[in-house]
Symmetry: C2
Subunit: 229 residues, 2 copies
């Protein structure tokens, strides 16, 4: 038993560095090539690590894959909750604030590296690992959707929006915010900042035409009058 500073929770420094570089490379390669198309040598090369090291760390290809998905789910969830915490509970300008939120959500949770990887792995391998992706469904959408819906409910209760069903409204909000990015997502591309802003702007305007109060409670500015360009 070592009486040292690092009992057992902290393996040598280089060890951890290899670990993350393996995770990084494996995410990249599994995403690009699919599970069957990826091979361990590719991952090893991309990680700058020998093949044997990967086997030392993760045992076999399937365990590695599962570890990647769990890791991505966790990191994406963290990003989503961080973003939800920027939701405009007391908006100064509802349209501007919701657009900012939508852009934020897109950039930090959906278009970023982890978001793209996780989405593609779920789409590609979801049917092959039912229990793994059931876990994702619970941990991911199962927790984030209600959290977003709760924010919209609060906004409605405070008189900023006219919403019947906050769960439906939340899903529609995100669907609208992404409406113009679907084709790009399909092909695995990453939309430009401008495309994200465009889609969010159009989406939020439509959302507010549907759910905005005719006369805003707190502010006299008219949102829907800005329709042109």
């Amino acid at each position: 038993m070592k009486t040292n500073v690092s009992p057992d929770t902290t393996p040598p420094r280089g060890h951890e560095a290899k670990r993350v570089s393996i995770m990084d490379a494996a995410g990249e390669v599994f995403c690009r090539e699919s599970f069957a198309g990826a091979n361990i040598d590719m991952i090893a090369a991309e990680a700058g690590v020998s093949r044997q090291t990967i086997y030392n760390h993760h045992g076999d290809k399937e365990k590695l894959f599962v570890a990647i998905v769990r890791d991505l789910t966790e990191r994406c969830n963290a990003g989503i909750f961080a973003t939800i915490s920027t939701f405009p509970d007391q908006p100064k300008d509802l349209e501007v604030d919701l657009i900012a939120f939508a852009v934020h959500m897109n950039r930090n949770c959906i278009c970023n590296r982890e978001g793209k990887f996780l989405r593609k792995l779920i789409q590609t391998e979801g049917e092959r690992y039912p229990e793994l992706f059931a876990e994702w469904r619970e941990q991911g959408p199962g927790r984030t959707w209600p959290a977003i819906a709760a924010r919209f409910a609060r906004l409605a209760h405070a008189g900023f929006l006219d919403i019947d069903d906050p769960d439906v409204a939340a899903r529609q909000f995100l669907a609208l915010a992404n409406a113009e990015l679907q084709t790009t997502f399909m092909l695995g591309g990453t939309p430009s900042d401008d495309e994200v802003l465009q889609s969010a702007t159009h989406g939020v305007r439509t959302f507010l035409r549907a759910f905005g109060k005719r006369q805003p409670a707190a502010d006299a500015q008219k949102h829907s009058a800005l329709a042109g360009a």
Copy 2:
């Protein structure tokens, strides 16, 4: 040179039967297993055909794959245009008619066998075959989106809707109609009829709250008053 009824366009009958059963099976297997994960023996078994016959018909695995994607693109396009032709240009009840259209589009173009297969193949292999999927993008979304937008433009011009940009409105219409099916699509599932109807109903109601005329031009029935249940 045969002077017969079938010069060279119509090979023997059984030949064609094999061909379609190969296409069917290959779509199924490529979709389920991804290109790299699929193997020819699997496809042959599923098609009820010997491996050699597949090589006789298509040359190699990659050519077979390309043939499948082209075939699916064509068949999906046909379905989409057929569905677009049912768009309510002169609606009796705008909400009811648009819901029917949305359900129709979902059932016949997105949730059906070909739609699911094509979507998954694009998501999974899109990055590996840029030119093939560029072709899809032109033939598919490139032609169907404008066609749908044109229908909405006509509806707006006739005084049924208040739309600034028909292209944006068309994309948002479909995004809203599918808003509640996204998670199911992600995992490769097929939504039930009821889920499709729910999503379409909620989507169309929101769409009409955003783009509907306050007082319908042709009809005095109020749509948005049906909010309950």
